[in-house]
């Protein structure tokens, strides 16, 4: 196709850094997981104990039903399951959205398509780019698993299945990019499908029904890479689906106008409302879609996990070895499960904070901050309005998720006491979440171009919070994540001293950010 080559060279030039971060991060994540697990489970007896422990519907709901859990590879698949369920699809969606719709939105694609570049080339280039990144990732995955001493055929099948997961969502994103007008829309549609896939896979795994087959996440699981009988043929499903989606995207791209979309919103009001013209109103407008996305994800996870609580109690009663679960160490596995879910919810809230405050950076880089500060709005008022809206959103997000989590748990177990318990647990994580607000504001104030540092901090905290206990990381490493210090409610007692310390740390970071923001050059594009 005309222009595919030049476009790929252009993308390589402008995108290679972010692609490299993704690939290295993913490979590093799996390599670290596999290496720690190989170290922890160094005897067949230990491996068997893990398998006995996690045959609980609760963990099956979170990590997936792993066939061949009595093998080293099976343990890795289980531990990496949750992270892979979100990161692999996200990888595909982010790369495609930024290469296709984001470029088109910015107007850069217009200059390129007026050259000798076919209008289908951007879509194909994004897929070639993803494919290349996926191939490298798969190679890295296989190497990491082999190093950890996992069988070659299992390592290859598992890595390829994960790679196909990325491809399915990448091709889905190419179709979304034809349907909606903005990259943000592609993210929202893509994440919605990830969420639905996660729920379908969870429900299917817990109830043992064919719902699993409707979920791209289920296809990874059904290849059964570490079971005695692998199902290589299952790889054909994501292959066919990706191919069909890619073909549809290319056909659509060949027919539509530049800047056009199948869905475009109609005209809006001619004037801003009273609320919208105030700094807080503008901030709320800018934040609303980010907030809505995270809210839906968080509430959905809370509802599904709460509804599964009863299953967990049954599993605990029927299986005493559950109390030796690697992820938590209490006799009360129901509370342990709830506590674990609470950590996931806290991570979601932290992610919201980092993304929401990242829009400040976007406002500045896109030149919208300058005219506002040139008016009567002071720097301090602007930043505090933004921060107030984001933190207000955080509180709503946390309370809504906690209430839904409590209500769903109360309904499924018949114990209404969970509503108050889980609301308390949810609120207890607020200081840890505020630390990320502090980091984000500080980075934005001091070195706005390095906002990726806030994301890196979030990534590290997520890795530690989700895998730290399972991989038995040393305490100092666990302590890096603010979530570690809360006290793991409702399983453990809330550590009130830590809450105060974390709040003070966040406050100090926020003050640093404000002080630096008042002094620094604006704009820094």
């Amino acid at each position: 196709m005309t222009g595919l080559g030049p476009l790929l060279r252009i993308q390589r030039r402008t995108r290679w850094r972010s692609l490299a971060v993704w690939v290295v991060g993913l490979i590093g994540g799996l390599a670290a997981t596999a290496a720690s697990i190989a170290q922890l489970y160094d005897t067949p007896a230990k491996i068997k104990s893990y398998g006995d422990a996690v045959v609980s519907n609760a963990l099956v709901a979170i990590n997936g039903r792993v066939e061949g859990i009595d093998s080293l590879g099976g343990i890795v698949q289980d531990e990496f399951g949750f992270i892979a369920s979100f990161l692999m699809p996200l990888f595909g969606i982010v790369v495609v959205a930024s290469v296709t719709r984001r470029e088109e939105e910015s107007g850069r694609l217009e200059a390129l398509l007026a050259g000798r570049i076919d209008r289908r080339a951007p879509t194909l280039a994004s897929l070639v780019l993803v494919l290349a990144a996926v191939v490298v990732t798969i190679a890295g995955f296989v190497a990491s698993l082999l190093v950890a001493g996992i069988t070659a055929s299992g390592a290859v099948l598992y890595s390829v299945a994960l790679g196909m997961l990325t491809l399915v969502f990448a091709t889905l994103a190419t179709v979304c990019a034809q349907v909606v007008l903005h990259a943000r829309g592609v993210y929202i549609l893509g994440f919605a499908v990830v969420g639905v896939s996660y729920v379908l896979r969870g429900v299917g795994d817990v109830t043992g029904t064919d719902w699993v087959w409707l979920s791209p996440l289920g296809w990874v699981e059904k290849t059964a890479p570490f079971a005695d009988t692998q199902r290589w043929w299952v790889l054909a499903i994501p292959f066919i689906v990706s191919f069909t989606l890619a073909a549809a995207a290319v056909l659509l791209a060949d027919r539509r106008d530049l800047g056009g979309a199948l869905y475009r919103p109609g005209p809006g009001p001619a004037a801003a409302s009273r609320r919208l013209v105030r700094p807080v109103g503008v901030a709320a407008y800018v934040q609303r879609s980010t907030f809505a996305g995270w809210l839906v994800g968080s509430v959905a996870l809370a509802a599904v996990m709460g509804a599964l609580a009863e299953e967990v109690i049954h599993a605990v009663l029927g299986n005493p070895s559950l109390s030796n679960l690697v992820t938590f160490t209490s006799d009360d596995a129901a509370d342990g499960f709830l506590a674990l879910t609470q950590v996931y919810l806290a991570i979601i809230a932290c992610g919201y904070i980092v993304q929401a405050l990242g829009t400040l950076r976007q406002e500045e880089a896109d030149g919208r901050l300058e005219p506002i500060l040139a008016g009567a709005v002071s720097r301090r008022r602007w930043l505090s309005s933004q921060l107030a809206v984001v933190i207000g959103g955080l509180v709503v997000l946390v309370v809504a998720s906690a209430v839904v989590f409590g209500a769903a748990t109360a309904l499924s177990t018949g114990d209404s006491g969970y509503v108050a318990t889980l609301l308390g647990a949810g609120l207890a994580y607020l200081p840890a979440e505020l630390v990320f607000a502090g980091i984000a504001v500080a980075v934005f104030g001091v070195a706005p171009r390095m906002y990726a540092v806030a994301w890196a901090g979030f990534g590290a905290a997520t890795f530690i919070a989700l895998l730290g206990h399972g991989l038995q990381m040393p305490q100092w490493l666990l302590d890096i994540s603010p979530t570690t210090h809360i006290g793991n409610p409702p399983l453990g007692d809330v550590d009130t001293v830590s809450l105060v310390v974390l709040t003070l740390i966040s406050a100090a970071l926020v003050i640093t950010g404000f002080a630096a923001f008042r002094r620094r050059l604006i704009p820094q594009g």
């Binding site: 107007g107 007026a114 050259g115």
Partner: protein
């Protein structure tokens, strides 16, 4: 219209939802000319250009570029043209030089000696990151990219937005040089002075329709000359003379102060009558494109297109 037209657009129609952006637009650009494409904001200039570049499809009428189908043969036709988009957006992390390389990669046919020369003439620092460029400098990058290409057609969508007068002059010189070498230029603008300085022929559009088209001389012929004279005596029958309108005469300090507009063809006769009334002072303002332009843009202006050669209504 001749078969040598580089751009042939007839009765072009484009809908955006329920909004008719182009409503039967005509545009003909002959080989080797600088064609001014004038219209107020939102008249449909960029949409027409995007259709010509195969970036958008049209819903009705016909559009041909180099005699080919702009949508179907897009990439083949694009190797013969260079384009400066109305909204210039660069890769913020890359330097100006890198952005130029990228655009050259997409277009091909860039003369690198000329590129260096143009960067020099536009006073551009190619080692700066795109995000550190001012609006004018980003515009210059895009201009260098478009004007350095060895192509038959250069399409410029509001090329001088953000440029200072000095750079505007460099721009005009460079466009003239390219034309002298045989390039055809389609220059979309709402800045009259720029079009008057460069264009051989002009198409004026309004609300998605071509209102007027012709050479500058032809267009000038449709506009009216403004005359202001002070004479000793009352000029004889001037107010009733064919071709004269907006006539007004009053007695000031014992002299006759006369103002009127007149079609250029009737000027000689009118001046003769003024002469016979003994001229004290005489001001004749030649027809300007401004007048024509403003008359076409006025909210109550007629939507009826006038063909070149037909008599205009004047101001």
């Amino acid at each position: 219209m001749t078969t040598d037209d580089v751009v042939q657009v007839e009765g072009l129609v484009k809908w955006f939802g329920s909004f008719r952006a182009l409503d039967g637009l005509d545009l003909h650009v002959a080989r080797g000319e600088v064609h001014g494409f004038l219209g107020p904001n939102g008249a449909g200039k960029s949409t027409t250009i995007r259709i010509l570049l195969g970036l958008m499809r049209h819903d009705g009428g016909a559009a041909r570029l180099f005699g080919g189908d702009p949508w179907r043969d897009a990439t083949r036709l694009h190797s013969r043209l260079a384009y400066l988009p109305g909204d210039v957006s660069l890769w913020s992390g890359l330097t100006g030089g890198q952005c130029l390389d990228i655009l050259a990669e997409a277009h091909g046919g860039v003369n690198s000696a000329r590129r260096a020369e143009l960067a020099e003439r536009f006073d551009l620092d190619l080692t700066k990151r795109a995000r550190d460029y001012s609006k004018g400098n980003r515009q210059k990058i895009a201009l260098v990219s478009a004007l350095a290409s060895e192509v038959e057609l250069i399409v410029l969508d509001e090329p001088t937005s953000g440029l200072d007068p000095l750079m505007e002059r460099s721009f005009q010189e460079i466009v003239r040089e390219r034309c002298a070498e045989g390039a055809t230029v389609l220059l979309s603008s709402h800045i009259l002075a720029e079009v008057e300085a460069l264009a051989d022929r002009v198409s004026i559009i309004r609300r998605g329709k071509t209102v007027t088209c012709g050479t500058l001389a032809e267009l000038r012929r449709h506009t009216r000359t403004r005359v202001h004279a002070v004479t000793q005596k009352e000029p004889d029958g001037l107010g009733r003379m064919p071709g004269v309108s907006d006539y007004g005469a009053e007695r000031v300090d014992g002299r006759i102060d006369t103002r009127f507009t007149i079609h250029p063809a009737d000027l000689d006769e009118a001046i003769g009558r003024l002469h016979r009334a003994s001229i004290d002072t005489l001001t004749v303002k030649p027809p300007s494109l401004d007048a024509l332009f403003l008359s076409r843009y006025a909210p109550d202006a007629s939507d009826t297109p006038i063909a070149a050669g037909a008599r205009g209504e004047g101001t």
